[in-house]
Amino acid sequence: MSDLVALAVAAPIVGSLVALVAGIARSKSGWPVAVVACAVQLVVAAQLAATAFTEGTIEYVVGGFEAPYGIELVVDGLTATMIVLIAVVSLGVLAYARRAGPRSNPFYAVYMLLVTGLTGMSVTADLFNMYVFLEITGLAAYALVASGDRGRSAVAALKYLLVGTVGASLFLLGVGYAYIDTGTLNMADLAVKLAENGYDATLTQAAFAFIVVGLFIKVAVFPLHTWQPDAYAGAPDTVSALISALVSTIAAYALLRVVYTVFGAGFVDANPLAHAILVGGAVVSIVAGSLLAISQSEVKRMLAYSSVAQFGLVVAAISIGNVTALMGAAVHLVGHAIMKGGLFLTAGLVATETGARRVEEFDGLVQRSPVGAGVFGVLAVAMVGIPPTIGFAGKWYIAVGAAEAGSWALLAVIVGSTLLTLAYFARLVERMFFREPSVDLEPAVERVDARADGGEGATGVSLGMQATVVAAAVLAVALGFAVFGYSDALQPTIEALLS
């Protein structure tokens, strides 16, 4: 029982190795291995979440080295939410990847490595350990983006790698400052010692600035987002969905964790500049991300810029920092992962079925791909934040949090962001449902590793692909109803985080 936390990280690592080794004996054996590993991960995550929500925080010391000297793994309500999200999304995307590819064993090995890194970032309570998992996540994400067969993927991945490495390195530099300041790397221990040193110490302030800016790059906050649209648009559809749903989400979770567990609400209150960095990043992201999304003509790029704006909302919630707003951050992280992952998968499904990849090619889509258009419509509506969807619940909590804190300017931006989201999704919905198809397109199926596998004729849309996107749409609505029970369960965690 007590080793379950370690198993949550170990299961995908083992899956990754088995997938790689099994590839030597038999090619295309990666998918079943990945499914088993993800299923184990889901069971473990569900068990951990059940324990964390009923019995309180789980703490696990790795290898018997007592905290604060050893690495500690901690699962509270927020962590539990994230690991369940990781397990559900990675399993869902696998159902889609069965037909859509890429199918090689190394792909699934890297896929599981990404899941490992994300899970590790969620459960760790040690700042340097978080850096290591951040880099594992990054490395796996760069390799996955490059797994597309076009040169565009490789260029996007190299750009992502260079920018992402700077982000992770700045994070490491910030960790170094905090370590020199206090002599410890354990988050809980750091919080105590940083408070003892006083919040106006230059070392503490520098550590905060480096860590936050480093994580801003990973979250893709404007203007540090430049890697993100290329990476999302250049990657294969399966990878776009997985990365857009999880990588920035867990980076934003790490930001929340570092700001409130390590530095604490007191630090942000005592340093107006620290607060200003967060608010500034949030506001600029929301406005610029939305405007850039409106100006895009490629659907996947538009969805990518939309993520910049949505993560602006999450950073806004972190900057507000009361119970309601942080609840909103957690809900919106989950909601955004489901909706954006679903939208990227649907975009891939539509492209496979009809060849439409650009906004103007979505004209009259409902006639050519009813499932794709229907799901895209539902998810777009959820993304805008129309009740009773999860998108509404997240934005509602963040907006109410802003009102409670008296941040009226921020509240105006948050409410305005809904209109901007409407602006770029409404034109797609209008084209899909109310226009006649004008262009003739051939289904351009992207066969990513057809040559490598000898290219059997498995083209078109599978039941698994359709089931996955429909499940995403159903979840986006159903979670909107589940949110009230969830917020009661999460309340103690957030209150403990802020105390």
Partner: protein, 118 residues
């Protein structure tokens, strides 16, 4: 000011490397040079950690030696970070090989021209 710089020369050197690395990453048009810039940038951070562990007159952290000891933990951390850096360089070079195979160029400007004309 000068005194401060002279007594902190290790830190000054580390941050100069950070600056040089960033400059190379931005200014160099060649992808391989960009990766070299990334390595210089990371090396700056590694040296920063190592410099922070140094103690004037400290002995190696072996218990048979006499205290005070040099702090061993930053060395261990940086060993991990170096491994990460090597892995990153390997992945980056792999991508550069693919870009070269696809477009036949390693410079940013030529690549832009090739891609625009596609």
């Amino acid at each position: 000011m000068i005194d401060l710089l002279v007594t902190r020369d290790y830190y000054v050197a580390a941050f100069l490397l950070l600056g040089i690395g960033t400059y190379v990453m931005i200014a160099a048009g060649n992808f391989v040079k960009k990766v070299i810039g990334m390595n210089i940038f990371q090396t700056g951070i590694f040296l920063f950690f190592i410099a922070s562990a140094y103690l004037d007159g400290g002995s190696p952290p072996v218990l048979t030696d006499i205290a005070p000891y040099v702090s061993p933990l930053p060395h261990v951390l940086i060993l991990t970070a170096i491994v990460v850096g090597v892995a990153l360089t390997a992945v980056a070079l792999g991508m550069i090989v693919r870009i070269y195979a696809e477009y036949g160029t390693l410079t940013e400007d030529t690549l832009k021209e090739v891609r625009d004309s596609e």
